[in-house]
Amino acid sequence: MSVIASDAVIKKEAGFEPLIVAFCCNWCSYAGADLAGTSRLNYPANIKIIRVPCSCRVNANFVLRAFQRGADGVIIAGCHPGDCHYMTGNYYTRRRMSLLKNLLEFIGIEEARFKIDWISASEGNKFAEVMNDVLAKVHQLGPNRKLRDSRWRR
């Protein structure tokens, strides 16, 4: 139900269509997104997924680049702590990205724009929920202007 509801909210405020880049680890979150697909759980099309082998493959540069090139929100999704396919990868993600979160906060990027979450291959529901949730929050915040490269027009 919440899925449909948030879809409606977003349509009401026409004009701003946020762009959200989601980095998903191949083993859990990407599979979770696949499951959301096979279960036909709706979430808005504003979310675009990039597949990485493990969430620890995500470099802070990738996140910054996304913001720079006009993304309004970035999500990093990995296996639940303790469940990493590569044993410890998501622990690195957790530490690295909490540092990046601090940096982003310092330079004035709203907290809700950058989300790190753990979504397992069986959590298609959670995948759709997290995507909807981030999108709803980013939508409230409006476009990301802070880090955007002005030469880069979307």
Binding site: A45, I50, V52, C56, R69, G82, D83, Y92
Partner: protein
């Protein structure tokens, strides 16, 4: 110059009903590098694959992008097709426009735009794809089976039959598992022990199979073909080689107070015991918590009586280290704890029992010699009430949301056995739905109703009120709307099945995933039902979800086949998407070494000529056979010297740019 061919799949109407294919084609035409675009109804079909192959040959394309379903579904298919046409398979990229697009979006315009964006990202990545050549590793030709129930036994026998060595690790003193406890099996009513024990003996006698009973796997490292496993053989306090299984010790042991695990607590056992007479191995074990010798230091009767001197009170746990090519997990299931179902009085009244306890009570080898009597007064019951779905299909905190699958059938079996043996005893079954999907199952259950006169009542029991001599069962017949009150002598609860409590630990040890009910997750719910996401680790039996015996055995054989597939190879192809070090850029800080969970990165000293002088410099080096390609090191590398093949920094940035355009 990169020449990209883009292949867009309609997936019947799965994609094309939401994504406007024409629009996608039109949008892609303008992308530099794209020289060929083709759309087709089923790209994964032979015709579709031929479209890819032909284009590689005729259009001279050297990068392939397929916009279709998830790469987890058909990446391998299209890589194979490309390879068949002479293109390095790692030059293929997939854009997931089904699971991540057409299936989750309703708005056609938005979905079409997203499909374009995803395909564009795939093109951007594909342009930067490089030819990759996988390395090879050897295969340890030995399988490890964890769990010695019917699933583990069947898997081990099948693998041994194919000629490979198998080690089977069983936690309890004997193999046999839950099936050994059962009386008869549905839907044929053949005796469980009669069909299981021969298999147990086969296993014991098979020279290819090595059994570690009363043992547990404590550590697993490595990867497919080369798992390194540590097994802890718990101290049995008996020397296995010396014991002849004569049983004198069991008979004479003075400590006979412990409840028998095998008899579900319905009988007592000695401190030195074999779980049941047909146990394999037929060697007892001393329960050190109840043994008088271990508790007080005085006794030692068994050691005095043992004709071969097999008793060893000083025995210690032994650690075994062994290498395996594959691992099969067959750890089974448990029944839920009924503590929180107070309305059924299970903990408070002896005549309210679980289905598994009923199996023991009607088993000829059970504590009553197969005579069904009430545990409270040893009298034969005249009215038995069976309650199904005790904790199954229950999404409250005390139950399990899923259907336990076996209860409908075993309850029908119980009621039928009861009516067969004691025609004067009435049987009532409370159910929510009767589920009999399985060969011969529906006929079986109907036989219980039509031929054996079992009274099926659609409805549940509110509460059981124990009376002086009988149990007052308050229920309802939901169909007629009649409130029922039954004076039962015995109540049998079909308690829900659940994953083993140690499932989390096993999953962590093996790096395989578990679902929200803590059952192990298969790689694909339909197409890869016995594989896990971890290559070389397979699942058999109820550890993956509730299953009956036929299903368990089928899955066990399937898992064995998958395992044999690996064991039969001399070399395994590695994933070529591994890390590589640009040594010219590497500063030799070696931060990457600490990150790597596989110890795949080592220090290397290289010779370098600068201004005519030869200097030695420390750099990192990646062992490609050990590297699993997580990419964690690439982020840790300060100078940016390490990159991940197949997921390079440039490639991911190109994807980001393409999406954010």
């Amino acid at each position: 110059m990169q020449r990209v061919g883009v292949f867009i799949c309609w997936c019947g109407t799965n994609i094309s009903s939401t994504v406007n294919i024409e629009q996608v084609v039109a949008a892609l035409e303008n992308i530099p590098g794209v020289v060929y675009i083709k759309d087709y109804q089923y790209m994964c079909s032979e015709i579709g694959q031929n479209l890819v192959k032909d284009a590689i040959k005729e259009q001279n394309i050297n990068r392939v992008v397929v916009a279709s379903c998830s790469p987890r579904m058909h990446e391998a298919t299209f890589r194979k097709a490309a390879a068949a046409a002479g293109l390095n398979p790692y030059l293929v990229e997939i854009a997931n426009i089904r699971e991540h697009c057409s299936w989750v979006h309703k708005d056609k315009e938005a979905a079409t735009q997203k499909a374009i964006s995803l395909t564009r990202a795939a093109v951007a990545k594909a342009i930067l794809n490089e030819q990759l050549i996988p390395g090879e590793v050897g295969v340890e030709k030995r399988a490890l089976v964890i769990g010695g129930g019917i699933a583990g036994i069947q898997t081990a026998l099948d693998i041994a039959e194919a000629g490979y060595q198998v080690d089977l690790v069983e936690k309890t003193p004997s193999i046999g598992g839950k099936m050994a406890q059962l009386d008869k099996t549905f839907p044929t009513l053949d005796c469980s022990a009669c069909i299981l024990t021969p298999k147990m003996v086969d296993l014991a006698l098979n020279s290819k199979i090595n059994l570690y009973s009363y043992s547990e796997v404590t550590e697993v490292n490595g990867f497919v073909g080369n798992f390194e496993v540590t097994i802890n053989q718990k101290a049995r306090s008996i020397e296995m080689e010396k014991c002849t299984g004569c049983g004198i010790c069991l008979a004479k042991c003075p400590a006979k107070k412990a409840l028998s695990e095998f008899e579900e607590g319905l009988a007592k056992r000695a401190a030195i015991y074999t779980p049941f007479p047909q146990a394999v191995p037929n060697v007892p074990v001393i329960d050190r918590e109840t043994c008088i010798k271990f508790v007080t230091g005085k006794c030692g009767l068994c050691a005095k009586l043992c004709p071969t001197g097999a008793i060893d009170y000083e025995q210690k746990d032994q650690i075994v280290n062994q290498k395996y090519g594959v691992i099969i997990v067959a750890t089974g299931y448990d029944l839920i704890n009924l503590d929180r179902f107070g309305e059924y009085q299970y903990l408070d009244h002896p005549d309210i029992i679980t289905g598994l306890e009923f199996e023991r009570l009607v088993n000829a080898a059970g504590p009553t010699g197969g005579k069904l009597v009430r545990p409270s007064d040893q009298k034969q019951p005249k009215k038995v009430v069976f309650i199904q779905c005790v904790g199954s299909r229950d999404k409250s905190e005390r139950g399990k949301a899923y259907c336990s699958k076996i209860c409908c059938m075993y309850t029908a079996k119980h009621a039928m056995l009861l009516r067969d043996k004691y025609p004067d005893c009435e049987a009532y079954v409370f159910y929510i739905d009767v589920r009999t999907a399985g060969k011969g199952f529906e006929e079986f259950q109907r036989r219980a109703v039509e031929n054996y006169g079992v009274n099926y009542i659609k409805g549940m029991v509110g509460k059981i009120f124990p009376g002086d001599n009988q149990l007052q069962v308050n229920g309802v017949d939901a169909l007629s709307g009649e409130l029922l009150q039954l004076e039962a002598d015995l109540v049998v609860l079909a308690a829900a099945t659940q994953a083993k409590p140690e499932a989390d630990e096993v999953a962590r040890m093996l790096s395989i995933s578990i679902d929200r009910d803590r059952f192990f997750t298969e790689a694909h719910p339909k197409l890869r039902p016995v594989e896990t996401h971890c290559a070389g680790i397979y699942l058999a039996g109820a550890c993956q979800g509730p299953k009956d015996i036929p299903e368990t055995v089928a899955q066990a054989s399937a898992a064995a086949t998958k395992a044999i597939g690996v064991l039969s190879k001399n070399k395994l192809v590695n994933n070529p998407c591994v890390a590589k070090v640009e040594q010219a850029v590497c500063s030799g800080c070696l931060a990457c070494i600490k990150i790597c969970p596989y110890e795949a990165i080592t220090e290397q000293v290289i010779e370098e000529k600068t201004r005519g002088k030869v200097r030695l410099r420390r750099v990192a080096e990646v062992n490609e056979t050990l590297c699993q390609g997580c990419g964690g090191c690439t982020v840790a590398c300060r100078p940016g010297a390490i990159d991940l093949k197949g997921f390079s920094n440039q490639q991911i940035l190109a994807e980001v740019d393409a999406i954010c355009r």
